[in-house]
Symmetry: C2
Subunit: 172 residues, 2 copies
DNA sequence: GGATGCATGTAAAATGTTACATGATTTA
DNA sequence: TAAATCATGTAACATTTTACATGCATCC
């Protein structure tokens, strides 16, 4: 049998968290939380309750190296990637199976079931979505951080989703 | 203040579950589980431990009406949408804010952080992803059920993602 | 009639959300 | 210097995963 887990597999949240740390070189839990909170997606809550424990778990797994950076009399921890963390991140980033997974797209789900609405509701929905997508594409800087959820990347994805939306609409 | 919650808001999982029931008119927890398990996305686990309790919660919230359909001596419950369930589902389906949310796209995240890999790794990744996307688009019937995660819809979305991928690649 | 798979769940553990607490720092 | 905001967490609760248990049907 192939050795299945020389590096531990990461969830999307874990992978993104490690990426954020790696990109900066060093980062606190708060910093990671802020980046996530700046995401255009509501699926990244960026809540303290999610992120602080996450960083602890990744530390316990040996993927992050904490250092105590208390300022004044206040406790604080800054993290860097350990060598194992770097390996795990590389494995996550280049995981093609995960990459091609369609993930979760709320628009896709709705188009799949839109026939459950009546004609009026459908029309209304399609027209509002169309408008909102156009706005999202036009809006250069969306509110939030420029790091993970980089504007340009966001725009590219929104354009692709609009295309899917229009194609699906044609077949509705 | 506006009455904020005459119908309870649904998560994506809840919305999809109600949609599956609504489309069939009637369905067991097992049926819903099977549809979810047939999804191309790993984010829908379709595990019994997720679905059976979910159906109970939706029942408790008054959105599903259970009926006892024991066959022989074995307990079984089939569900239909209650009037409140229908309203909640309509509200979910036509929720434009949720619809435009980018959701979770594993490919998007990876392209965002791909610069953390070295040139070789990047090349390898891009070429493999490209191939896998092409395969996914060409493959007419993907393994799994034809209901929620309808082939045609899946294909449209994969095409859109390939376009985003190519555009992002050009700017890498 | 034993093995295999379908159908219906539950239990323990992990993860994530919401809400709170509290120390430090900036701002009015 | 009081109020607001930033930063660092924890606690209770809800949800989800993983793993197990078990009854019925079918097929070999």
């Amino acid at each position: 049998m192939m050795s299945h887990g020389s590096v531990s597999e990461l969830t999307e949240l874990e992978g993104v968290a490690l990426s954020v740390v790696a990109r900066s070189g060093t980062m606190t839990a708060y910093g990671v939380k802020e980046v996530l909170a700046g995401s255009p997606s509501r699926f990244w809550s960026g809540s303290a309750g999610a992120v602080y424990p996450l960083m602890k778990r990744l530390t316990k797994r040996g993927l992050l190296s904490p250092s105590d950076t208390a300022t004044g009399r206040r406790a604080a921890t800054t993290y860097t990637l350990s060598p194992d963390g770097q390996r795990a991140l590389r494995a996550w980033l280049s995981d093609v199976d995960k990459a091609v997974d369609p993930g979760i797209d709320p628009l896709r789900f709705r188009l799949l079931y839109l026939s459950l609405l009546n004609e009026n509701e459908k029309q209304q929905f399609m027209s509002e979505v169309s408008q909102r997508l156009a706005e999202a594409i036009a809006a250069h800087p969306f509110p939030g951080g420029p790091d993970v959820f980089d504007n340009r990347n966001h725009q590219i994805w929104m354009k692709a989703r609009r295309q899917a939306f229009e194609e699906a609409a044609r077949e509705l």
